[in-house]
């Protein structure tokens, strides 16, 4: 085998390529196995600002909220993306004092057993539930647990809305935030958006 001079550019190229490949293999090995492609496409602050304003278009919002708006942020424990986004959502919601003049309380809730989740929902009765990332497999179960409940569910993973599991989605379209509303899911969860909002949204009937 021909020896390469360490000062030679060719030697450095080969060395760098080997280093890159080694690094890539190492990263694949050390990264959590459950990492999933579910990063949001809209900055979290913007998501929260939109929800605070869109809520006013839900005819049942005031009745549902009563004396306080309870925001639930649903997180999948052990999913790094889910936890990261949930923490950012919680921080953003803590900067919001009122929605429609009603004081806001925010709580992060870990999603585990569907029955326990349903039980806790009945106990707390949140006004808005924001799903963090990491619900690709569980979104349908969450929706089933909430069947008949009066609740605005929101996500920044539009696939959950397209699949009919969440009422309101916040997606990115042409480099701008955009709304997606699943009308059937909205009806099941007693969410009644005014036509003015539906004109601004992509509506799935």
């Amino acid at each position: 085998m021909r020896c390469l001079d360490p000062m030679n550019v060719r030697y450095r190229e080969v060395l760098l390529l080997r280093l890159t490949v080694t690094l890539a293999i190492l990263l694949t090995w050390v990264a959590p196995n459950h990492a999933l492609a579910e990063d949001v496409e809209v900055p979290v602050d913007l998501q929260v600002s939109l929800v605070t304003r869109v809520a006013a278009y839900d005819r049942n919002f005031s009745v549902r909220a009563g004396q306080r708006v309870l925001i639930w942020i649903l997180v999948t424990r052990g999913n790094a993306d889910s936890e990261r986004i949930a923490k950012q959502l919680e921080a953003a919601w803590k900067r919001v004092q009122f929605v429609g003049g009603i004081p806001v309380t925010v709580r992060t809730v870990e999603y585990g057993e569907p029955d326990k989740f349903k039980e806790r929902y009945k106990r707390d009765v949140p006004t808005v539930l924001m799903l963090s990332a990491g619900f690709a497999d569980a979104a349908a179960m969450v929706a089933k647990s909430l069947e008949g409940a009066s609740l605005l569910t929101v996500t920044a993973i539009p696939r959950y809305v397209d699949d009919g599991n969440v009422v309101l989605g916040i997606e990115s379209r042409s480099g701008k935030p955009a709304l997606v509303v699943h009308l059937a899911r909205a009806r099941h969860q007693s969410v009644a958006f005014k036509p003015e909002l539906l004109k601004l949204a992509r509506v799935i009937r």
């Binding site: 550019v9 450095r12 190229e13 760098l16 390529l17 890159t20 690094l23 890539a24 990263l27 694949t28 990264a31 959590p32 990492a35 999933l36 492609a37 579910e38 990063d39 949001v40 496409e41 809209v42 900055p43 979290v44 602050d45 913007l46 600002s49 939109l50 304003r53 869109v54 006013a56 278009y57 999913n79 790094a80 993306d81 936890e83 990261r84 923490k87 950012q88 919680e90 921080a91 953003a92 900067r95 690709a136 539009p158 696939r159 397209d162 990115s172 379209r173 042409s174 480099g175 701008k176 935030p177 955009a178 709304l179 003015e196 909002l197 004109k199 601004l200």
Partner: protein, 739 residues
């Protein structure tokens, strides 16, 4: 300037919301109009909070305003950018600076964050030669000002990032077919309907699909586009020329009279751009490929592409070919940390041919003329790793660090067919870079961003590119931002290695550098958004074609680097500098639910110092005042959207104004272009839409001197300017039943 500002403010007050919408509707619409950008910091953020001035052009605007290529998008829809047509590949400038003949290597052009500027000459195209299927574009982010802090070389004027659509917005099979006509132009700039019309055609085919693969969400996007066409016939000349080598009338080939260049151009006006793109995303892994070709015949003799050659000869052309690959894997590491590893490859080939029947254009012994062929290739292979850490896990203290390695290889060869080979070389190097950025958002009303990037090139050493920005909410709806930013451009393989009979090679060139300071105020009033900014930039060590001093010329002759007897010799040198000071403003919004508008304008004062002791001069080609305005109205039901777009450029100097030797200089009149487009759905056919448009330019000529007499031959010489496509129309159908 005061009057200009007053007019903008008056317009703002006039259309301020007068309870046109309900307040909440305006609030939601206001939020939905906020651009989300990823270019300034390599991560998603609101444009208002970014560490750079960035505007975003949406696919919807591209469609409704009848935009068919990137240059149209930049001219009609964004602020402070101008793209001009030298009749070969188009040239771009921003904020009062355009460096003609640079093949856009002072703008960094990205595709999904991947640099498209190739390695040999850092060339990128901002016209149809972008080589990306146009319907695939989701939006275009245009970042103004120096941007090397994240991307390294070339980002001196700014960064243009073309972002493609994801499969959920491109689902199913879609097609587009578009045809266009443009009217021939005679030598006075008049429309000449009896001559050969320009004809363009565009066909695109796309497919997008989402599904689960290996238990993970997956997306597939495929797109192909074929663009082809003929420019309209142009009449040029006549220009009389004597061949200095023979003392006889110069021979311009079979399509011109001996000694007389000019007439109608019918043959050398073909363009062709096929392009293809494929992207596969599975879970956190994403891979895309792009392949394209840009072929165009050299229309006329000019200062950049064809400084001599036969008239209207289809053998004179340029052709670029690309293949790009980008693969990236994202890792969520927990505790607010994410990591992205990226590998990429870029393969590029360039070919230029030039035929001349004049012996004076050819080496000795080629009395019947010659053909030249320049072939160049470049390959880049590289990797990048970047990590983002959100220390407080609430977005208030976020650190980005990254490193990048590029292995670059370039070769070039200039050949006289049947004769000598010149300027042949093969080079390679390794470029390494590290970068970091720290964001602080201590309160929702205030943010700060500090960043720097260090690039190392084996040729000249290191280049440090820092950036600092601060922004704050100053009152309700008002946001102030100040940015200091820097950039550099590494000398290209072409510049480092070029040599010929009268130019010596300079392998010791250093990087060009620019720094800029800017401050802006953005005010939102419901659905209206006004921004006003001032900027100052200083450019240093610009590479230019410089005359060799007497002693150095004599030395170069004695050691054989240039031919004996050469009286004037040249070299690329880092000698020029430049300043630009200006104001820019932009107003966008809607004044009724169906009526949207946008206006932008820039006033700039730029001066270039050639470093030879002469007085600094204004820049040529680039106007000192320019802007655009647009208005779109959505008619109800299935009736069309009517969209009118205009652009304006003030009177400006042509490229040979200062050095052409023309007694009265070379200046061109102001330019005003208008474009009207109707778009809408075809009734009763789901997914079928149409687009019909026409455009007209009031300008008769462009700011480039053309023809063999680029320089005055005597006191009575008058410059001949590049032609302009003045009137065109197009019609298109698109079918996308699942989108």
């Amino acid at each position: 300037m005061t009057r200009y500002c007053a007019m903008v403010l008056a317009a703002m007050v006039t259309i301020a919301p007068k309870q046109i919408f309900a307040e909440e509707a305006a609030d939601v619409a206001d939020l939905l109009s906020e651009s989300i950008v990823s270019t300034p910091s390599k991560g998603l953020e609101s444009a208002s909070h970014a560490a750079a001035t960035v505007s975003s052009i949406s696919a919807e605007d591209l469609r409704r305003y009848g935009i068919r290529s990137l240059d149209e998008a930049l001219n009609f829809l964004t602020q402070s950018v101008v793209v001009t047509d030298p009749t070969h590949a188009k040239e771009s400038g921003a904020r009062g600076v355009l460096l003609t003949g640079d093949y856009n290597n002072h703008f960094l052009v990205l595709l999904n964050g991947h640099a498209l500027n190739e390695a040999w000459n850092s060339t990128a195209y901002v016209d149809a030669g972008l080589g990306v299927p146009f319907e695939l574009i989701d939006h275009i982010e245009v970042t103004l000002g120096p941007g090397s802090v994240m991307y390294g070389s070339e980002a001196m004027l700014g960064v243009i990032n073309v972002v493609t659509r994801k499969a959920n917005a491109y689902s199913g099979v879609s097609t587009v077919t578009e045809l266009g006509l443009s009217v021939p132009i005679d030598r006075a700039g008049n429309l000449a309907f009896e001559e050969s019309f320009g004809r363009t055609g565009r066909f695109g085919l796309g497919y997008g699909r989402t599904q689960k693969l290996f238990g993970k969400p997956a997306e597939l996007v495929l797109a192909f586009e074929w663009r082809s066409g003929l420019r309209p016939a142009f009449e040029l000349g006549p220009q009389d020329v004597i061949d200095p080598a023979t003392g006889r009338p110069k021979n311009f080939g079979a399509r011109a009279m001996p000694g007389r260049w000019g007439g109608w151009i019918h043959q050398a006006r073909q363009e062709r751009v096929p392009s293809a793109f494929a992207q596969l995303t599975v879970g956190d892994f994403s891979l895309w490929l792009r392949s394209a070709e840009y072929f165009r015949q050299s229309l006329i003799i000019d200062s950049t592409v064809m400084s001599y050659g036969d008239f209207d000869d289809p053998r004179n052309f340029e052709r670029d070919r690309w293949f790009n690959l980008d693969a990236r894997q994202r890792f969520a590491l927990g505790h607010g940390a994410t990591l992205v590893a990226r590998g990429f490859a870029d393969i590029y080939a360039y070919r230029w041919t030039n035929a001349s029947s004049a012996s004076g254009d050819c080496p000795a012994g080629m009395a019947r003329g010659c053909s030249q062929l320049l072939t160049s290739h470049s390959n880049t292979y590289g990797g990048e790793v970047k990590a983002t850490v959100d220390w407080t896990e609430d977005g208030t203290v976020v650190t980005l660090i990254g490193s990048e390695v590029r292995l670059r290889r370039a070769d070039s060869r200039l050949e006289y067919l049947g004769g000598s080979v010149d300027n042949q070389y093969q080079k390679h190097d390794v470029v390494e870079a590290v970068y970091a950025e720290q964001k602080f958002v201590p309160r929702a009303e205030f943010e700060m961003n500090l960043g720097a990037r260090l690039d190392h090139y084996p040729g000249f050493g290191t280049a440090l590119s820092p950036r600092a920005s601060a922004g704050a909410a100053v009152w309700r709806g008002g946001r102030w931002r100040t940015i200091y930013s820097t950039a550099f451009r590494a000398p290209t393989f072409y510049e480092l290695n070029y040599r010929d009979a009268i130019q010596i090679q300079n392998p010791h060139l250093g990087p060009e550098k620019v720094w800029s300071i800017e401050s802006s105020l953005e005010q939102k009033l419901g659905a209206q958004k006004l921004s006003f900014g001032v900027y100052y930039s200083r450019w240093e060590r610009l590479i230019q074609y410089a005359t060799l001093p007497e002693l150095e010329r004599a030395q170069a002759v004695s050691d054989g680097r240039i031919a004996p007897g050469t009286e004037v010799a040249y070299e690329y040198r880092n000698t020029a500098s430049m300043t630009s000071l200006g104001v820019e403003s932009r107003l966008d919004g809607s004044i009724a639910p169906r009526l949207t508008y946008g206006v932008s304008g820039t006033l700039a004062r730029s001066r270039v110092d050639l470093g030879d002791g002469s007085t600094p001069l204004p820049l040529t080609v680039m106007p000192s005042a320019y802007g655009n305005a647009r208005l779109a109205y959505e008619l109800p039901n299935d009736l069309p959207v009517i969209a009118l777009a205009t652009r304006f450029e003030a009177r400006r100097y042509a490229d040979r104004n200062f050095d052409g030797g023309f007694t009265n200089g070379a200046r061109v009149a102001p330019r005003l272009d208008v474009k009207l487009t109707l778009t809408g759905p075809v009734a009763n056919v789901r997914g079928l839409g149409y687009r019909i448009g026409t455009g007209y330019s009031f300008a008769r000529v462009g700011p480039y001197v053309v023809g063999p007499n680029l320089y005055a031959t005597d006191g009575s010489s008058r410059p001949e300017f590049s032609p302009v496509e003045r009137l065109y129309a197009f019609v298109g159908l698109e079918f996308a039943p699942d989108q």
